[in-house]
């Protein structure tokens, strides 16, 4: 209930529309979005249909979201996030493992394959994480989510919020193709997010 009210409030504040049905059908999915604002994960999450939202965990940076008690509560209790390691990556500390675990429990995840927020509103190159998830769980659909205008609502480097209208475009799901290289897959995934038909063939 709290989460539904929170999602409705976030949509009111950012002008994002809610999807009426799941963009990929049943079962878990990996949602991947471009990253430019602290609001990104909350907005993409709020745009999902309510039942799917309950079963979706946004990935959140461990180093930022477990710094204080409040942040930790917001990330883990309120948004049911998976905290992943960005700084001290080792074999035991692999950031992919908790995401795979999450998918195996039947939950969807929301990730930002650029790894960090961009300041200029462009979409950067994707890091390898998305590829590793796709290779480990090839049957799971990967749903591109293009977030628009969020760098104008709350850009990097400020907490001042400007109430403009943001949009979350959910694109058709993609999957890792047989024999596709990492570089090819990542650039295809990025093109699918940008809805650039020239690049997706």
């Amino acid at each position: 209930m709290t989460r539904r009210i929170l999602a409705a409030g976030l949509r009111l504040l950012t002008g994002v529309r809610r999807l009426h049905e799941s963009p990929h059908g049943d079962g878990p999915a990996v949602f991947f979005a471009n990253h430019s604002s602290h609001l990104d994960f909350a907005v993409a999450w709020a745009a999902l249909p309510a039942e799917l939202r309950e079963r979706t965990s946004p990935a959140a940076a461990h180093d930022y979201w477990s710094k204080t008690k409040l942040r930790q509560w917001i990330a883990t209790q309120l948004f049911q996030s998976v905290l992943i390691e960005r700084l001290h990556i080792t074999r035991e500390n692999n950031p992919i493992t908790p995401l795979i675990d999450c998918l195996d429990r039947g939950r969807s995840v929301l990730i930002f394959p650029e790894g960090t927020r961009r300041g200029d509103g462009e979409v950067g190159e994707f890091k390898a994480g998305l590829y590793h998830i796709a290779r480990n769980r090839p049957e799971i659909p990967l749903v591109p989510v293009q977030l628009e205008n969020l760098n104008r609502l709350m850009p990097k480097g400020t907490y001042a919020f400007v109430p403009l209208i943001a949009q979350a475009h959910f694109r058709a799901p993609i999957r890792l193709l047989e024999g596709e290289t990492k570089a090819d897959f990542l650039s295809r995934a990025r093109a699918a997010l940008l809805n650039d038909e020239h690049l997706t063939q």
Partner: protein, 328 residues
Amino acid sequence: MDHDIFYLGGTVLAILVIASVIGAVMAQRVTTDKARATVANLNARTRSWWIMAAVFGTTLVLGSVFTTVLFACLSFLAMREFITLNKTERADHEVLFWAFFVIIPLHYLLVGIRWYGLFTIFIPVYAFAFIPFRRVLSGETKNFLASTAKIQWALLVCVYAVSHMPMILALPLKGYEGQNAKLLFFFVLTVQLSDVMQYVWGKTCGRRPVAPHVSPSKTWEGTIGGIGTTVLVSSCLWWATPFTPLQAGMMALLICAAGFFGGLVMSAIKRDLGAKDWGNTIAGHGGFMDRIDSLCFAAPLFFHLCGFYFGTGIDPRPPEWVLHWLGK
């Protein structure tokens, strides 16, 4: 509050009932896909009109505080659409924060406390200066004038102009004390009726476009037929205003002309930005800005003409309690 306002409300109710019945009949009769889409859009518009008329009518009856809050919300939502479409830059972010969260509330506070003197200069003098002052602090010189001008325009059109509507409630008019809600109703009804009538005439017998590059849907037939019908209807509503029938007709003509050009100007801006509508919040209409574009330019004109010809002089001084608080 006298009964006239309920008669005005009844007029609108009658128009909406007729529009809904016609829409339902047309939906039964259409055969082609194109006509079906047009009728579906017409009916979506009518349904939205029911909601908008109900909201406006209710706040007007509830009193000036509610009306002021309603227009403050409208200004906020319109400016949100205006700035979203007008690509602003990173350096404008802090300026915009001030514009949305400080300038809009303060301006409507002035409307609320009826401090006319400051209301009329707050945005053209203080906000006008503050915006470039704050922008220059960002240290970014690229597109400085364009960015500043966009925000100043947004405030003038979406906030300053729109706020003249609730301010009509505070305009002292000869022999019309305490009845200003009806004048605001008359104004809004005239502008919106003119939009609707131009649409109806344009759809039924529109041939020659007025400004094909700016707004392809506006035709001479639609404009003349729409404005003519509106002037006729509005002059029949003279009894609710401080005007004679002839004066009511002249006022309606002026409001319609300003509304027509206001709509064209906002269309030109939209087209320059490559958009068809300002938003998609109101079914069939587009965004809030699409609905109030013709009100923006007409509102201050109507306000000042009423004040000039029929007014007894509006007091520019701050309210007593402000003077007291300032120790004067």
